[in-house]
């Protein structure tokens, strides 16, 4: 089982993403606070992090910077899922170090696949 950390302060959006990912067979850790999200990343060592951009505590840009700076977490893919969908948002987000960008509303039929693309290949021993 892969473990995915979802950092999203909007409860409904978080519920939607965690529901879809659980149905796709992933383990979930979740929070609505940016700082707690980074702490969870350090304690849980997830295989992938999904983060909103506008967040209380620490925003998405700060989280991705902190993760990429942390030697133990640097290889963890971080995907932004955000309602910021104006022109230039994607470029700014990718430039900030996120591995991918998905805009809200997400497509429920393809969301889990889009996320799975960034997961490291599964080790059969687990």
């Amino acid at each position: 089982m892969t473990k995915i950390l979802v950092i999203e302060d909007h409860p409904t959006s978080r519920e939607l993403m965690t529901y879809l990912l659980r149905c796709a067979g992933h383990d979930l850790v979740e929070t609505g606070d940016g700082r707690e999200g980074f702490d969870l990343a350090r304690t849980h060592r997830p295989d992938l992090v999904i983060s909103d951009v506008q967040l209380p505590g620490m925003n998405g840009f700060e989280i991705v910077a902190a993760i990429k700076r942390d030697p133990a977490l640097a290889g963890t893919p971080v995907v932004a899922v955000t309602a910021s969908a104006m022109s230039g948002d994607r470029e700014n987000i990718i430039a900030a170090g996120f591995d991918d960008y998905l805009s809200k509303p997400i497509d429920p039929e393809t969301f889990a696949q889009q996320i799975a693309r960034h997961l490291p290949p599964q080790r059969s021993s687990r």
């Binding site: 909007h10 409904t12 959006s13 939607l16 529901y19 879809l20 149905c23 506008q54 309602a83 910021s84 969908a85 104006m86 022109s87 805009s103 809200k104 509303p105 997400i106 497509d107 429920p108 039929e109």
Partner: protein
């Protein structure tokens, strides 16, 4: 006795009212009396040994090459008038009498030229003024602008009453005065310098070109001015005609305009912020609507009965409709604000069409329509923005699918038929319901949606409007032919590009 005679001669030379200057064959100053010091402002110690023309000729003087000193007759005095520059930069007219003096005793010392010089600027000004007065005064009085004419020394030789009124001087009182009288004191020295340069190379300078200029009225008050300069050739030499306009009003308008522009810019920024916020705030609830409708329709929580499925699909399509409205409105706002950033490059049309076709295939198949794509084998290249082109073709094709319930959709590509070789043409033809003739003129308007006889159609009503605006931004156009009940053909024409 001889000594005292010599001393007396020297005294006379020193105290002569005019400038007395002697130069050698290389025009180096050998003698420079008090009169010369007074005339040019250079002390004897500064002048001796210097080349005369470097001391007193205006920079780049046009007559520099034709210095009369180079063409003196072998014997006898030669008199001429010359434009000269004082040490402080002031230009003046000088009356020069020059005479060669042969070497004494047939050798020994080198040949000399002796010059007697005096300032005739005022005389010259009076002469120029009289000349102009008779020739131009009446004409200049008729002109709407204030006119000041200067001679080469920068003295006012003609001024019309408009100019006198503008600066507040009594009639005639400025004739012979340096033009710097009309300038604020802090700018006078710099102006003197500019003026000397202008005299050397006179050219027409249009009003409002160049520097921020200021005038000074007789009471000392300053005001902004626009000034045009033109050289005026006369038998007496080149004069400078200067038309002056009070720029106070223009500056006021400009300042008001600038303020309005700033307000507009900040309003635009506020609008951009509003759009970004609106987009963000609308997407968040839509995420839940589209997302959970999706999970239910995917039957992730459990099975659905037919009614539930049908109703959920209505929610889903309404949600998607709302999303396309938001996207289209944002696009439109960007196009209206000219913020739709275009990246013009050679784009292979076939690639774009294949992408559009691929994205629509599912919808086409669901509706049971025939879809055909006719493209030339050889790559056709348009000079365009790939994203905008994709959006236009997607809009046109999706429109065709939307309004076509049975039959076929045909998409074609080729060089512009009958047009110039420099254009490519895309056609999207459907056998749908077509458009009534009376609706054709407004089809491309925003929110132009017409009552459909076969039920409501999903869409923002902005697709065609955006497509046409985008086509215009790309330097192209969209045309429509339609026959009600039979179908429509949309033709997009774009400038062709070459493969780089």
């Amino acid at each position: 006795m001889i000594d005292s005679d010599r001393a007396y001669d020297a005294l006379i030379l020193e105290e002569a009212p005019d400038a007395v200057i002697a130069i050698d064959a290389g025009h180096r100053v050998l003698l420079w009396n008090r009169g010369a010091e007074r005339l040019y402002g250079y002390a004897q110690s500064e002048a001796l040994g210097e080349r005369l023309h470097e001391l007193v000729q205006p920079n780049d003087a046009p007559d520099g090459a034709a210095d009369p000193l180079n063409n003196l007759p072998p014997a006898g005095p030669s008199t001429y008038e010359a434009l000269r520059r004082r040490k402080d930069g002031v230009l003046m007219y000088v009356d020069v009498t020059a005479k060669r003096i042969a070497p004494l005793n047939g050798g020994g010392n080198a040949p000399l030229i002796v010059l007697g010089e005096k300032d005739v600027t005022q005389l010259r000004v009076q002469r120029d003024a009289k000349l102009l007065e008779t020739r131009f005064r009446d004409l200049f009085e008729l002109m709407p602008d204030a006119i000041v004419v200067l001679n080469a020394t920068g003295r006012i030789v003609l001024i019309n009453s408009q100019a006198e009124a503008l600066f507040g001087y009594p009639a005639g009182s400025l004739i012979g005065e340096p033009v710097e009288r009309l300038l604020p004191e802090r700018l006078r020295a710099a102006h003197l310098h500019h003026r000397a340069g202008y005299v050397a190379q006179p050219r027409v300078r249009a009003m409002g070109v160049g520097l921020e200029l200021h005038g000074r009225r007789v009471d000392g008050s300053e005001f902004p001015v626009d000034i045009s300069l033109s050289p005026l050739q006369t038998p007496e030499g080149t004069l400078v005609l200067s038309a002056i306009r009070d720029a106070t009003e223009r500056k006021r308008f400009e300042a008001a305009l600038r303020e309005k522009n700033e307000q507009l810019a900040s309003a635009m920024q506020a609008k951009d912020r509003f759009l970004a916020t609106m987009s963000h705030e609308l997407r968040t609830p839509l995420n839940a609507v589209i997302g959970f409708t999706g999970t239910l329709l995917m039957r992730l929580p459990g099975p659905l009965n037919d009614d539930q499925e049908r109703q959920l699909k209505t929610v889903q399509s309404s949600g998607r409709h709302l999303l396309s409205l938001i996207n289209d409105l944002l696009d439109l706002a960007r196009i209206e604000a000219d913020k739709f950033e275009l990246r013009m490059e050679p784009v292979v049309c076939q690639e774009v069409l294949r992408g559009v076709f691929g994205a629509l295939q599912h919808q086409v198949e669901q509706k049971g329509l025939q879809f055909s794509l006719a493209m030339p084998d050889e790559n056709l290249v348009a000079l365009t923005d790939r994203r905008a082109l994709t959006q236009i073709l997607t809009n046109l094709s999706a429109n065709a699918v939307k309004f076509c319930d049975h039959g076929s959709i045909h998409v074609g590509l080729g060089p512009a038929a009958g047009g110039t070789a420099g254009e490519v043409q895309f056609t999207v033809t459907d056998t749908g319901m077509g458009i009534r003739a009376e609706h054709l003129p407004t089809v491309f308007d925003a929110f132009a949606r017409f009552e459909s006889e076969t039920g409501p159609r999903e869409g923002s009503g902005l697709g065609l409007h955006i497509s046409r605006r985008l086509a215009e931004h790309l330097g192209g156009r969209i045309e429509l032919e339609s026959e009600y009940g039979k179908g429509s053909t949309f033709t997009l024409t774009l400038p062709a590009g070459s493969v780089s």
